[in-house]
């Protein structure tokens, strides 16, 4: 079982596909769950405390906005733990404020920098593309399982 980072990290489709074909998806929900279930000081809504931008310094420089560094404290450890990645390139749903947009760029950059199996896709736009999309993910994850 390989830990597979999914981008967009909130994707229902990718999260399901990875788990369905026998691997562990690394999604933002698991990172948020850790924070929501850890006692400390109240910092609603996501329990992102002032400590998180400090932790984010590992992946982004000090002059990078705190919003990016705070987000990187969620995604950075997951990228380091990942053994593979599936990236959807036309994920408009990942659009957001500058914090989200720059974090997305940095996450994609780090995923491309890391030497690991990577699958690049676009969302399917019809049924034929749907078959190709699912087949590509299945092949990728099956080969991943066989390699380990």
């Amino acid at each position: 079982m390989v830990k597979v980072f999914i981008y967009p990290a909130t994707s229902l489709i990718l999260s399901d596909m990875v788990a369905r074909f026998g691997h562990t998806p690394l999604s933002s929900a698991t990172a948020i769950r850790e924070r929501v279930q850890t006692a400390g000081l109240e910092s609603p809504p996501l329990q992102i405390t002032p400590e998180e931008p400090k932790k984010g310094l590992k992946w982004a420089a000090v002059e990078v906005p705190a919003g990016v560094r705070g987000r990187m404290s969620l995604y950075g450890p997951m990228i380091e733990a990942a053994g593979a990645a599936i990236i959807i390139n036309d994920a408009d749903l990942a659009f957001g404020c500058m914090g989200c947009a720059r974090t997305n760029e940095l996450v994609k950059f780090l995923l491309h920098q890391k030497e690991m199996p990577r699958l690049e896709l676009n969302y399917p736009k019809n049924e034929d593309e749907g078959v190709k999309f699912v087949a590509a993910i299945k092949r990728f994850l099956t080969e991943l399982g066989a390699a380990k």
Binding site: P25, P44, P124, V131, K132
Partner: protein, 152 residues
């Protein structure tokens, strides 16, 4: 600074989303209650939210998937069901994060079709999708067609 005391520590929460003409969230909820041993199950408009011990949640989901494996999709959730920081009952409007799921719900029928087709044939026999990182040059014949279309 207010101390924060978490609830449902050590539990996991998962969404079960249905895209099916044969199954409703209510059908799935009844089945989930039948096989549940102490998990919290909440029925929603798109499926279920299940909270409990990880092994118990996984067991329930494995049972639910058997009903319609190609049309049931599962993902993790960070917050427990009904959490006031996320629940639309407290906030009004769509739950934060629902927009992403709503967008993917428009694509899920293609995924379900793909899963159904792959039950009939081998994944290795299917050609790979177009590489999104490639930007193919504009074909000369297509360029000529575009020019002709502009001129006519």
């Amino acid at each position: 600074m207010t101390p924060y005391t978490p609830v449902h520590v050590g539990s996991v929460t998962k969404y079960v989303v249905i895209e099916s003409f044969d199954l409703t969230p209510a059908d799935l909820a009844i089945r989930a209650y039948e096989i549940s041993k102490g998990a919290m199950i909440k029925e929603t408009c798109f499926g279920l939210v299940i909270n409990g011990r990880e092994d118990e949640v996984n067991r329930i989901i494995a049972g639910l998937r058997k009903i319609d494996p190609d049309h049931i999709f599962v993902k993790d959730r960070g917050f427990p069901p009904g959490d006031p920081r996320r629940c639309r009952a407290n906030l009004g409007g769509a739950r934060p994060g629902y927009n992403g799921m709503e967008y993917e719900m428009t694509i899920i029928p293609y995924i379900s079709h793909g899963l159904e087709e792959l039950n009939k044939k081998d994944a290795t026999a299917v050609p790979p999708p177009a590489n999104p990182l490639e930007h193919p040059l504009l074909d000369i014949s297509r360029l000529k067609k575009l020019i002709d279309a502009q001129e006519s």
